[in-house]
């Protein structure tokens, strides 16, 4: 079932601000969650979301398809806006790991203990996500934060269905391991190799490269 009617989709393509408002109401939370996960800064995510909806208003006429196509277009636009933001900052999103205060909106309904626990959880999740490959991370964010299906994620990222499912599966397993406090064999091997490099510099000369943990 689609989030909004085909009539609204036609309005979006015609540049009708009322139709854009309906789409905003349906997808704003998911889009903001996705952008927050991408840029790790709520204020920046809000700005990028505004830019994304303005693009939808101006370029909506280029969308071919109905409501589903508009949803994919919106997340794809947000994806590229986040990439542009990273390029401008010339830094990776991992740089901001461990600063959940920049993501969370002020929540006066929760008590201080609850907030502290939530902040701790957020920090653990972000730390775990930072150890995943960028593709796994993005697939998981689109799948579980934005609620897109595998085919929709494929269209957003320009990948086929199988590749998306594979990235999702590996990402889920790695995330579960990391959050459960386990260390994978790959991680252990990386540490061994790193130790060996320190002791035996010739290993580097032979071209053996350390395998990054959780690359699937």
């Amino acid at each position: 079932m689609s989030l909004f009617s085909e009539e609204v989709a036609e309005g979006v393509k015609a540049g009708d601000p009322k139709a854009i408002e309906v789409v905003y109401t349906a997808l704003a939370d998911r889009l903001l969650s996705y952008l927050c996960a991408r840029v790790r800064d709520r204020s920046t995510a809000e700005d990028l979301m505004e830019a994304t909806f303005l693009e939808l208003l101006q370029k909506g006429w280029t969308i071919r398809g109905g409501a589903a196509a508009i949803k994919v277009w919106l997340f794809r636009s947000a994806h590229f806006n986040a990439l542009d933001h990273h390029r401008k900052l010339s830094r990776r999103p991992e740089d901001l790991v461990g600063d959940p205060s920049r993501i969370e909106a002020e929540d006066h309904a929760r008590g201080p203990e609850e907030l502290a626990l939530a902040a701790d959880d957020a920090q653990r999740v972000q730390a775990a996500l930072a150890k995943l490959s960028s593709e796994q991370r993005e697939v998981l964010e689109l799948r579980y934060v934005s609620g897109l299906s595998a085919p929709e994620i494929g269209r957003v990222l320009g990948k086929n269905d199988g590749a998306v499912r594979s990235l999702q599966h590996r990402g889920e397993r790695s995330l579960a391991r990391l959050l459960a406090g386990e260390d994978s064999g790959d991680t252990r091997r990386t540490m061994v190799l790193a130790g060996r490099r320190e002791r035996v510099p010739s290993a580097v000369k032979r071209g053996s490269t350390p395998v990054r943990a959780n690359e699937g």
Binding site: I20, D29, L54, A122, E172, A176
Partner: protein, 270 residues
């Protein structure tokens, strides 16, 4: 090593819980306000571009309409050449004459135009003499005025044109008298004498100016053919004017009025 499904479910739930964000009402109002403003700007820009795109089309349309108007005016002017007083195109003809007088440069060129106007009025007088005899004398008066105006600007062709028009003036007056003598008789005496002066003067070197005393017998456009009112006698039976014998004898070179209203005007033109 396979991760237990429970761990994966817990990890996914934790991911969802910690990354889930909600848009605050303030942010929503700000974003939708921006969308509304941008939409308004786009509408203005679209209207401007539509107007800009329409401008060449409007110019083209205006040029076409202008060309059509000029073409239609020229065609109407040409078609109105042979129109007579009371015709649909007659005002166009008169308007065209006014324009020709205005655009006649140098001033002396107005003389030629005035002579053409005089010729047109005389032709019209001849044309309406049968059906609307009451209009003959006013038209001849206009012709006379035009000739006087030509003379005033020193037009050298005045005498020649007056000579050429003399026969037609005489014929027109004769027809009008045949058809409705009362129409001619009803005119004020002074006006009538002026018109007839034009028609009866024999000296072709000058034309009588409007308002000048009549110089009947001294020369004019219609001297050869049209007797003056003093020369006319009334038929006691029909009431139609009959020219006096003395003046009738002098009218040999022009169509003389028929002695009775029953005579055909065409016979006098022969």
């Amino acid at each position: 090593m396979t991760q237990p499904d429970d761990d994966i479910e817990q990890a996914v739930a934790m991911l969802r819980r910690t990354l889930q964000q909600r848009v605050t009402p303030e942010v929503r109002a700000r974003h939708l306000g921006s969308v509304q403003r941008r939409a308004a700007q786009m509408r203005v820009a679209q209207r401007r571009s539509q107007r800009a795109a329409r401008r060449p089309r409007v110019a083209l349309l205006a040029a076409l309409v202008g060309a059509m108007l000029i073409g239609t005016s020229s065609a109407a002017l040409a078609a109105s050449d042979s129109s007579l007083p009371g015709d649909l195109l007659y005002p166009v003809k008169r308007g065209g004459e006014e324009v020709r007088l205005i655009v006649a440069i140098p001033f002396s060129a107005q003389g030629g135009v005035q002579l053409e106007i005089a010729a047109a009025r005389v032709h019209e007088a001849l044309g309406v003499a049968q059906d609307r005899p009451e209009e003959v004398l006013p038209l001849i008066a206009e012709a006379q005025a035009a000739i006087a105006a030509a003379q005033a600007v020193g037009e050298p062709q005045v005498a020649q044109v007056a000579e050429q028009l003399r026969d037609e003036v005489g014929a027109a007056i004769a027809i009008a008298e045949d058809v409705a003598p009362e129409a001619v008789a009803a005119l004020p005496a002074s006006g009538l004498s002026d018109e007839l002066a034009l028609a009866t003067e024999t000296d072709t070197t000058t034309a009588t100016l409007p308002g000048e005393p009549s110089r009947a017998g001294a020369g004019g456009l219609g001297a050869v053919g049209s007797p003056g009112p003093d020369d006319l006698e009334t038929d006691p039976i029909t009431g139609a004017p009959i020219p006096r014998s003395g003046s009738a004898e002098t009218s040999t070179a022009s169509p003389s009025p028929s002695p009775s209203p029953s005579a055909s005007p065409t016979s006098s033109e022969d």
